[in-house]
Amino acid sequence: MFAIRNFPRAYGWYVLGIAIAFVIWEAVAALLGNYRLPSFLLIAPEVFPLLVESRMLGFQGGGDDGYWPHLLHTIGYTVGASALGVFLGVSFALAVSRSRVLRAVTEVPIELLRTIPPLAAIPFILIWIGPGNPAQLMMVGYYVFVMMVVTTLNAAANINPVLPTFAATLGASRNRIFATVILPAMVPAIVGGLRVALGVAWGVQIVAELMGGKLGMGRVFSAMISFQALDAIIVGIIWVSLAAALVDFGLVLLMRRITRWAPKID
């Protein structure tokens, strides 16, 4: 009863925000016409059926099972390649952060590599490893890797110097200070960077799938563009967004658990 009574106060603004977005969408759709922005009322009935069957996708060689296998592929490769990139990026940065020389040598090249636009990277990846799943893994992993290196190096640089100094005065060894003071102090900043990197990874994964893999939402979008099927593209965007939101939600829960000792700011 309490929850129901408090619902308007707790969630009313969210509902109002969704309602305003819906009204704006419908107004713009009416203004532009359905061939430029379809009404959500036309799209809504397609959201679930397209998940399991799409003739247009089948026509372009995307299989007969609708969006489902493509969405699963995109989720799997985004999360998997991101995990790989995070592991390698954080490990590399932690190793580098312990040496002033190594850090100075690697920082500038990493910063430069980070700025390569994914679209510009496509021809190189196609030539080096060809289209397909390994190319997707490499591309997403690479972008997450460089983002996590930068994030982790910044986190290391921003640690309050009082903390390791104080630990040292208590007689802690260099390795122990790193493991029990520096590393935990870096975690909140790394977690923040991880969420940003994962957000970017979704976009990079879709671009990577345009390189010609058999599966993936990028392939779905590519097929639908040739039909100018805006409704089907929007349905794809909705599913990718939902998947990204769910993965992010799971990541937030996981990270709250990992950093439960840290003070929370509401």
Partner: protein
């Protein structure tokens, strides 16, 4: 008013009327100045309008491309989106390119055919040992068996192609003729032609199909065409049921129904320049290539020599003249009649259940036959008037109008030839 005043007024009115009639007879018809938002694709068969622009032929009929001087260049894969955006009035394209998007686009039509595109080819690696359809046919196989043997070389191999709609007919037909499905090959939908070429050059794909620039780039580099649009179309019949017609299509200029209806005279004038360009390409291929190829290179990022244009003009995208296009428009026994070529392409979508049978007909995507017939009618009418004027005593103004009419006639602008001839004749 007394009688004298009345007579004076009547005399003035009669003189004014007579003067008016004389002026009408000698007054030059106006050609309106029109800006057309024009889009090209970066291909030989979609950039020929540069010849008309450079020669000043569009200016002669009052047409300027917007944005000046050349309009815009878009990728074929972006055609439907650009068209839907309303950013262009006229796009060099084909009906086939817009077929899959027909349910979601505003009604549009091809109003002028420029060329017949027969430039697709399955390209093979130079050192892969693949045989071409013609080579296999030469070994004594029947055409059906030769098609199967040619395409069988792709089985299990990586086959790259762009997901652009116009190319789909050729790919599906090739696979079908090989007795295969796309599942039998390692199909890769490359993002664009450049990526397609890169895949082949890096040895990351075994076979490829793309637009003419990609074919020419690969062919010059030693890659081998093993099955071409021409190989397939050679067995086409005069019917929309002839699947071989899916290997070819008419390129031309496309506009929305709304724009065509509001600017029909501009449509006729654009088409007249189109035919003038085609005639020039046929009569002066070297000069045409010298204008055409540098422009294509500048927008496509290629570095073709002018000689490559000759390959396009003579075999890959032959531009047909006004007289030759009678076959595409009038001749029901001609397999390349637009009714059959577009009709055959529509059936691809009907077979896949994307269109209901009979939901779309060929003439919902083209108006070129009507435009052609209207121009032919103006041509005939202009010629009749000009024949009547021969040997007549004409005032200087009337003679100037007749000369202009003849110039417009020679430039395929039969609308203005008729208007000026009529004015010269006093009508």
């Amino acid at each position: 008013m007394n009688i004298r005043n009345a007579i004076t007024m009547a005399a003035i009115a009669a003189a004014t009327a007579a003067a008016g009639a004389f002026q009408a007879a000698a007054e030059a018809p106006e050609i309106p100045q029109v800006k057309v938002r024009f889009a090209h694709f970066p291909y030989f068969d979609h950039t020929q309008s540069i010849i008309g622009l450079e020669q000043g032929w569009f200016d002669e009929v009052g047409i300027t491309f917007d944005p000046e001087p050349h309009g815009i260049v878009v990728q074929a894969s972006e055609a439907s989106a650009v068209f839907a955006s309303g950013r262009v009035d006229v796009m060099s394209a084909s009906a086939q390119l817009f077929l899959p998007a027909a349910p979601t686009l505003p009604p549009l039509k091809v109003f002028h055919y420029a060329d017949i595109f027969q430039g697709y080819a399955v390209m093979a690696q130079p050192d892969g040992g693949a045989k071409s359809f013609q080579e296999i046919l030469g070994e004594g196989m029947t055409p059906d068996d030769a098609f199967k043997a040619t395409m069988d070389q792709l089985r299990g191999k990586r086959f790259a192609f762009p997901t652009e709609a116009a190319i789909k007919g050729f790919i599906d037909l090739s696979i079908q003729k090989g007795g295969m499905t796309l599942e039998d090959v390692d199909a890769v939908g490359a993002p664009d032609d450049a990526a397609n070429v890169a895949l082949m050059q890096a040895g990351r794909a075994d076979f490829q199909v793309g637009g003419v620039p990609s074919r020419m780039t690969l062919q010059i580099a030693g890659f081998k065409p093993i099955l071409t649009s021409g190989d397939l179309a050679a067995y086409a019949g005069p019917s929309a049921d002839s699947i071989e017609l899916r290997a070819v299509f008419h390129d031309g200029w496309v506009a929305s129904d709304e724009w065509i209806n509001a600017n029909y005279e501009t449509v006729l004038r654009l088409t007249s320049v189109g035919f003038r360009i085609n005639q020039f390409i046929n009569d002066h291929a070297d000069e045409a290539a010298a204008i055409h190829t540098p422009f294509l290179n500048s927008v496509a990022g290629t570095s073709f020599a002018n000689e490559v244009a000759h390959v396009a003009y003579t075999s890959l995208d032959p531009f047909w003249t006004f007289d030759a296009q009678t076959g595409w428009i009038m001749d029901k026994d001609n397999p390349l009649n637009a009714e059959y070529v577009i009709g055959s392409a529509i059936k691809i979508y009907e077979e896949q259940g994307l269109f209901q049978e009979g939901e779309y007909s060929w003439d919902q995507f083209t108006l070129a036959h009507q435009v052609y017939n209207d121009l032919a009618k103006y041509k005939s009418d202009a010629e009749t008037i000009l024949a009547d004027l021969e040997g007549s005593e004409l005032s200087d103004d009337a003679a100037a109008l007749r000369d202009k009419a003849m110039a417009f006639h020679a430039a395929f602008d039969f609308l203005d030839a008729y208007r000026f001839a009529k004015a010269a004749a006093g009508g």
